[in-house]
């Protein structure tokens, strides 16, 4: 790991503990997750206990300590999508990728995570991949959608 990258991020926030969330966001943007080595380095740079860093990192859902895939699949588990049979879509994706919800494929291509109501219930069932929204998803369409992401 290039620790200079981490240094730059810490310096950008003047190495202040009050900016910890911003620092962690930037690290996560860089690596797609919060690598342990990076957090240990931040501890030295900011001279703060590791417990403070991990307290924040495990509190917010946006942070993850495990490597995430290059593409994030969010399956909407909101009420409308549930009624419209999203569970079958989710199962189809799980089968297709050979992973369970909350896991990442071995080739780091996809991470699969549930989400609560994306706010476009009229399109239910809804699947979001990175920034793209897929509405009225049918089981047969799943593999074609996944193929678009490398």
């Amino acid at each position: 790991m290039d620790l200079e990258v981490i240094d730059k991020i810490a310096d950008r926030y003047k190495r202040k503990e009050s900016a910890l969330i911003g620092i962690l966001q930037d690290i996560q943007a860089q690596y797609n997750y919060l690598p342990k080595e990076a957090l240990l380095h931040i501890r030295e740079r900011l001279s703060i206990p590791l417990t403070h860093i991990l307290g924040v990192a495990t509190f917010y859902n946006i942070f993850t300590l495990k490597p995430r895939g290059r593409h994030l699949i969010n399956v909407c588990m909101g009420t409308a999508c549930h009624v419209k049979g999203v569970v079958r879509i989710l199962e189809k994706i799980e089968r297709e990728l050979g992973i369970k919800t909350g896991e990442t494929t071995a080739d780091l291509r996809f991470s699969l995570e549930p989400i609560r109501c994306l706010g476009c219930c009229s399109l239910a069932p809804v699947v979001k991949i990175d920034g793209d929204i897929y509405g009225k998803v049918k089981q047969e369409k799943v593999s074609r959608i996944l193929k678009k992401y490398e």
Binding site: K36, P49, L50, T51, H52, L54, G55
Partner: protein, 256 residues
């Protein structure tokens, strides 16, 4: 000084004192679980809930965090308080049905069996261990991680912490005895924190008396004390000191 009434008694307290402190000073008992006078109040357990009436407006709040105010009327045992405290203990008991301290407090409130689904936790997430480790010991080896129902106290990455001294202060303050510090020959263990540390041998009696990292930590804090004191167990230290005093006294003042 600030004047207020607690359970119909006129009480005076210094500005900035909490209701709990004011009450304890005059001997009024309020139950607590997450409070320790040496640590920052945290308001986690809610067991110290009291009723506060101010300008005819009644509210419930935690006595350990609420600063005294002029003219307020505090009730530590009103119906409203009892109802709230009972509910709080019922929930705590459902979480920790096998913890003696919780069982006793709940029984005091007349609860034998909670209506809720039982868990089997020992920790009530009071945060005393986290606070003593940060505020008194000064290493912050443990902390709260995760959120909501997942919230727990642990070490980073749930492995042995590289800053834990094995001092056992957390085990001392824990109200539920969820933390156990144990000594197995030359090893100090705190299983909950995955801590296993080698202890140092006393240069006089040969007993293993404290974790090496703890001693080195203290040494760094006060180097003036000299090397020897850090190689000697507390009871040998006392003996040595006693002998020194006896010796000098007998020479100087012929007391013994």
């Amino acid at each position: 000084m600030i004047k207020l009434t607690i359970d119909n008694r006129e009480v005076e307290a210094r500005e900035g004192a909490t209701i709990l402190e004011a009450a304890r000073k005059v001997g009024i008992e309020i139950p607590t679980l997450c409070y320790h006078q040496a640590l920052t109040a945290y308001g986690a357990c809610r067991v110290c809930t009291v009723e506060i009436i101010r300008k005819e407006w009644s509210r419930l709040s935690t006595a350990c965090t609420y600063p005294v105010q002029k003219g307020i009327e505090v009730k530590t045992n009103s119906e409203k308080v009892k109802r709230a405290r009972k509910m709080i203990l019922e929930m705590l008991l459902a979480r920790c049905p096998n913890v003696k301290k919780i069982k006793d407090l709940a029984r005091d409130m007349g609860i034998e069996k909670p209506r809720f689904e039982l868990d089997n936790e020992e920790c009530i997430l009071c945060g005393l261990c986290v606070r003593v480790c940060e505020e008194i010991v000064g290493v912050s080896a443990i902390a709260f991680f995760n959120r909501g129902t997942e919230r727990e106290v642990n070490t980073p990455y749930e492995i042995n912490s590289d800053v834990c001294l094995g001092c056992g202060a957390c085990a001392v303050v824990c109200p539920t005895e969820a933390i156990k510090a144990e000594d197995i020959k030359e090893i100090r263990k705190i299983p909950l924190w995955h801590t296993e540390l080698k202890k140092r041998k006393c240069r006089l009696c040969g007993e293993f008396f404290a974790p090496e990292v703890e001693i080195d930590f203290l040494k760094k804090k006060d180097a003036r004390l000299g090397e020897e004191i850090f190689e000697t167990c507390p009871s040998c230290r006392k003996k040595e000191l006693g002998n020194k005093i006896l010796y000098t006294n007998s020479r100087r003042r012929k007391y013994v």
